[in-house]
Symmetry: C2
Subunit: 213 residues, 2 copies
DNA sequence: GCGGCAATTATTCAAGCGTATAATAACGAT
DNA sequence: ATCGTTATTATACGCTTGAATAATTGCCGC
């Protein structure tokens, strides 16, 4: 009997995992965690459902991998933007702006982020992943701040630096959230300008000290 | 044949709707949107599944009603705390603090909030509900701010007031988020204090002007 | 107390879910 | 070329899902 079995190609493990994770994120972003079924994900990745359990012990583990990838992607995008700045001040500014500018402010990203957040209470492994990445974000911000204060020859205790980092992080997160949820309410640069002047205020800088070239 | 049909009591429409919505929120908070199945919700509400379609055209409509109830509950909690203040300054302070204090900072609330946010991209009716409540929150904050500036005899344009409201709202949301997600990282009053001093900075007040009695 | 209305239960249905297992085809080693 | 390995497909299974329908029972007006 000549069965019509579809042809395929054997991919490397890394490649296949990557594809599956990407497909998972796509599905969640498009139709929520409800829509991220094994079959949907497999279809989008161009494979059949059974393959997922060849690379992951189950759907849950794949979701976790996807969460990890998404979170590190977000933080790294902001850090990548920052390191291109020449001074500590420029790096701080670029970091802030990057977090309230596409592609970080993106409906897809927000949808993914929220979907995972809502699973933190249900599955503790998601909480661990979140914590890990929140701390990384906080530390990146704290490092930028410390360097900035040093460059400005302004003495700030490490305790105060941490408090600043928490506030700034909250502000950035909040603006990111609102800017993404109500993108139509804000003009192109409005969000970034608001973020910068808010940061200036939070750090007790001169108006324009951060935003001006 | 004497079938064993369970006894029940005919409730008023308002009562039953309320029960169903509460049960829906409980289910989502506890086990995510995935766990909020018609049967789970019905069980928790003490009825059988079929009844849901007697009060709502479908599961989706019930979810929307639940979202609406949850959001108005959050905003109203903060507003209720605010109006007890005697001066405009006190009202503003109470509003800020209420938003970073239980019961607003509560894992259950966060879980619910995130679950719904993640459905905004999928179902436009959820987006409308969100928008509605975000604007209400913003307006409440703007009103408090305007009154506060007037009380302080400080002249602030309504444009600037709106910008302040957006920044404050973002900050509060962000702190709420982080404080709830990583509750163990913050001491009891730390979050509220951080919020108040951050607001002071954002509004260019004297340190302690808001937080001090 | 007793009809009749409708709120509620009980049951059924098709579709879709995650997972398990068996068959198969791709590809590197030989 | 052929073989052996194993990545991949195909199929099946048992459950759960949201919804539709039929049967019943609580309750209000009389």
């Amino acid at each position: 009997m000549t069965e019509n079995r579809r042809t395929y190609h054997r991919a490397s493990e890394a490649e296949r995992r990557e594809d599956l994770i990407t497909a998972t994120l796509d599905c969640i972003a498009e139709s929520g965690i409800q829509g991220a079924t094994v079959r949907q994900i497999a279809t989008r990745a161009g494979v059949t459902g059974g393959l997922i359990r060849h690379y992951f012990t189950g759907k849950d583990q794949m979701l976790q991998a996807a969460y990890r990838k998404m979170m590190t992607g977000m933080t790294e995008a902001a850090i990548a933007a920052a390191i291109e700045g020449e001074t500590a001040k420029a790096r701080l500014r670029r970091f802030i702006v990057a977090n309230v500018t596409p592609p970080v402010t993106d409906p897809r990203t927000l949808s993914l982020w929220a979907a995972f957040i809502s699973h933190i209470q249900i599955d503790p492994s998601f909480a661990a992943i979140h914590r890990e990445n929140y701390l990384a974000f906080l530390e990146a911000l704290e490092t930028l701040l410390t360097a900035f204060f040093k460059e400005e020859q302004r003495l700030v205790s490490s305790d105060q630096c941490r408090r600043y980092a928490i506030s700034l992080s909250a502000l950035v997160d909040g603006l990111w959230l609102e800017g993404t949820l109500a993108a139509d309410m804000f003009a192109d640069r409005e969000l970034a300008e608001n973020a910068l002047s808010s940061v200036e205020a939070l750090l007790h800088l001169q108006p324009g000290e951060l935003s001006d070239e």
